[in-house]
Amino acid sequence: MTPNRHGSAVIEFPSDLEIVITREFDAPIALVFDVFTKPEHVRKTFAPFGEEVTVCSIDLRVGGSYHIVMVTDDGTECSFRGTYLEIEPPTRTVQTWLFDGWPDAEAVESMELHETDGVTKLTHRLAFRDKAGRDHMTQFDGLEANFDNVEDYLGSLLEPQGTVSG
């Protein structure tokens, strides 16, 4: 794997039901948009650990749907599907997101791209809207969820006496 000069993805939790991932790529925005929205590209990059993608259909228009299936090492099919809500090439798409492994949790996924001096920044947001999660969240008053650097925070709590490396 070629090292990325922009480092690894940054994960933030702006609210209890949202997960935001950002990462930069050395490529023009139009190309990055294509890689995330055209089946011939998505097929090659979708699976995180290189699993086989067996279905990849993308109807890139508002109201159009996508369906991606990959097969894991133990032969199980993982199916992801949804409908496009907003499309603004080459900067933004918003779509519903359903994973068959967790059918109760429909989410809204958005992808935003921003190019500066040939570097394109991806902001990927997954906002769960499952009622169970929301009800759970609102049972405590005064929720001020902000999980910036949550990983560092967890690390510091788990190893209170430990020295922090890096």
Binding site: M1, T2, N4, S8, A9, I11, D16, I19, I21, R23, F25, D26, A27, L31, V32, V35, F36, H41, K44, T45, F46, A47, P48, F49, G50, E51, T72, D73, D74, T76, C78, F99, G101, W102, A105, L122, F128, G133, H136, M137, F140, G142, L143, E144, A145, N146, F147, V150, E151, Y153, L154, G155, S156, L157, L158, P160
Partner: protein, 124 residues
């Protein structure tokens, strides 16, 4: 990777979402921070943080319910201590989630480089 792990990565399990909720509140994180130095009575936590005693007690109750703090009586005082092991599942979930995303985005990064190289070599 087996399907069970995907489910675990894609969505945090209900057992960790309680802990997730408990630490989603800034005051509760302050209380956990205050307990990092060691066991404390409610009064000492009130002194450390600019919170009222009922407020601290309310947050300690939430933290106790998810097991992030435990409590023991010493005479008439109740002493609270941090139970960081309860955060381990959340920490593990986050690490796996991050790993899965990074691996996918690394592939995108490599693939973008490949596409650009092809493009520039076909131009010349």
């Amino acid at each position: 990777m087996p399907i069970s792990e995907y489910v675990g990565i894609v969505a945090r399990s209900s057992t960790t979402s309680d802990v997730f909720n408990a630490i989603a509140e800034a005051h509760r994180r302050e209380i956990l921070d205050a307990l990092m130095a060691g066991e404390k009575a409610v009064g000492a936590i009130v002194d450390d943080l600019s919170m009222s005693q009922p407020q601290v007690s309310k947050h300690l109750r939430v933290l106790s319910e998810v097991g992030l703090v435990s409590c023991r009586a010493e005479g008439r005082r109740r002493l609270y201590r941090l139970e960081p092991a309860r955060l381990q599942p959340l920490h593990e979930w986050l690490a796996k989630y991050k790993q899965a995303w990074n691996d996918r985005l690394d592939r995108v990064d490599d693939y973008l480089k490949e596409l650009q190289q092809k493009e520039s070599s076909s131009d010349t």
